[in-house]
């Protein structure tokens, strides 16, 4: 029984290591900035997830207590990782793309990163108070 748990913990650690490696390898191999952004999301999901599963299993099987800190780490990662990725993507759109190089914005005029105060005023003329001269 003991060795079965040892085997499981080791397996989760190896899986985590493999995906962590693929994540960092992708950062080097992929050749455009937006694609490169995909690599770290893999490292944060299965890469970190594998380590956390191994840690929980180890605590339950060998140290005889149930640990939930790993669940909290997963939760906080899932809350913060999309936001950092979104910020980097926005920087890319802001600096490398223009309205013409971007795809159509559905039924709307353009994407929010390319929005200007003038657009805002054109859309909602009543919201902006008239400027006094």
């Amino acid at each position: 029984m003991e060795s079965l748990f040892e085997f499981l913990v080791a397996a989760f650690l190896v899986i985590a290591g493999v995906f962590g490696f693929v994540g960092s390898f992708g950062l080097l191999k992929l050749n455009d900035p937006m694609s490169r952004l995909h690599a770290p999301t893999k490292a944060t999901t299965l890469g970190v997830g594998g380590v956390l599963l191994a840690s929980m299993l180890h605590a339950a099987a060998f140290e005889k207590y149930f640990s939930v800190h790993e669940l909290m780490i997963t939760l906080f990662l899932f809350l913060t990782a999309p936001i950092t990725a979104n910020f980097i993507a926005k920087v890319h759109i802001h600096r490398q793309e223009t309205r013409d190089t971007m795809p159509e914005a559905g039924g709307d005029d353009h994407w929010a990163t390319h929005d200007t105060p003038e657009d805002e005023e054109r859309r909602h003329p009543t919201l902006t108070p008239p400027t006094e001269d």
Binding site: K29, L30, S67, K90, P103, G106
Partner: protein, 165 residues
């Protein structure tokens, strides 16, 4: 009744913060429950001006199903993306922008959808349109962009629709 709403502007947030505190303490005791409740009452009360609206949850139990679906998809997509990164030459890869027209209206639901798209490897939500009617998604390898769009709408947006609207 009105006073109770004033004191507890977000009952769900109170519950969530208390549970979060108990999980952070990593053990059960009356002390930590009381302190967690204290935080759960104080924080929503103090941050009230930043959360003017209370998001409605129509089917809160469906959240469990949603989390399960997303976790399974994350494992599956990780393997697919690892294969693309390791074995597919850059020249064969077709990175693509995809526009997803949104049926969701609640800001919280759209945020949840964008977060889900980013956390499932292979897709990344990059931007929202100026009036919030479409989501811009970047795909690592999408030979068929329409299929990806339909899958996201069918798998995630439909479920979020049931939870939030």
């Amino acid at each position: 009744m009105k006073l109770i709403w004033r004191l507890f502007p977000h009952p769900l947030l109170t519950l969530l913060l208390t549970v979060t505190w108990l999980l952070l303490v990593n053990g059960w005791s009356l002390n930590s429950l009381v302190f967690g409740l204290l935080l759960g009452v104080l924080i929503p009360f103090v941050t009230q001006p930043y959360w003017p609206n209370r998001p409605k949850l129509r089917h809160p139990l469906k959240i469990a199903e949603y989390i399960l679906v997303v976790l399974l998809d994350i494992v599956q997509a990780n393997i697919i993306v690892a294969r693309i990164v390791l074995f597919k030459p850059n020249a064969d890869r077709r990175p693509n922008w995809i526009t997803i027209p949104l049926d969701l209206k609640t800001p919280e639901a759209i945020t949840a959808l964008a977060g889900t798209i980013t956390m499932t490897p292979g897709t990344l939500s990059a931007d929202v349109s100026d009036e919030g009617h479409a989501l811009l998604v970047h795909c690592l390898d999408a030979p068929n962009p329409d299929a990806v769009r339909d899958e996201i709408k069918q798998r995630y947006e439909r479920r979020l629709m049931e939870i939030f609207e």
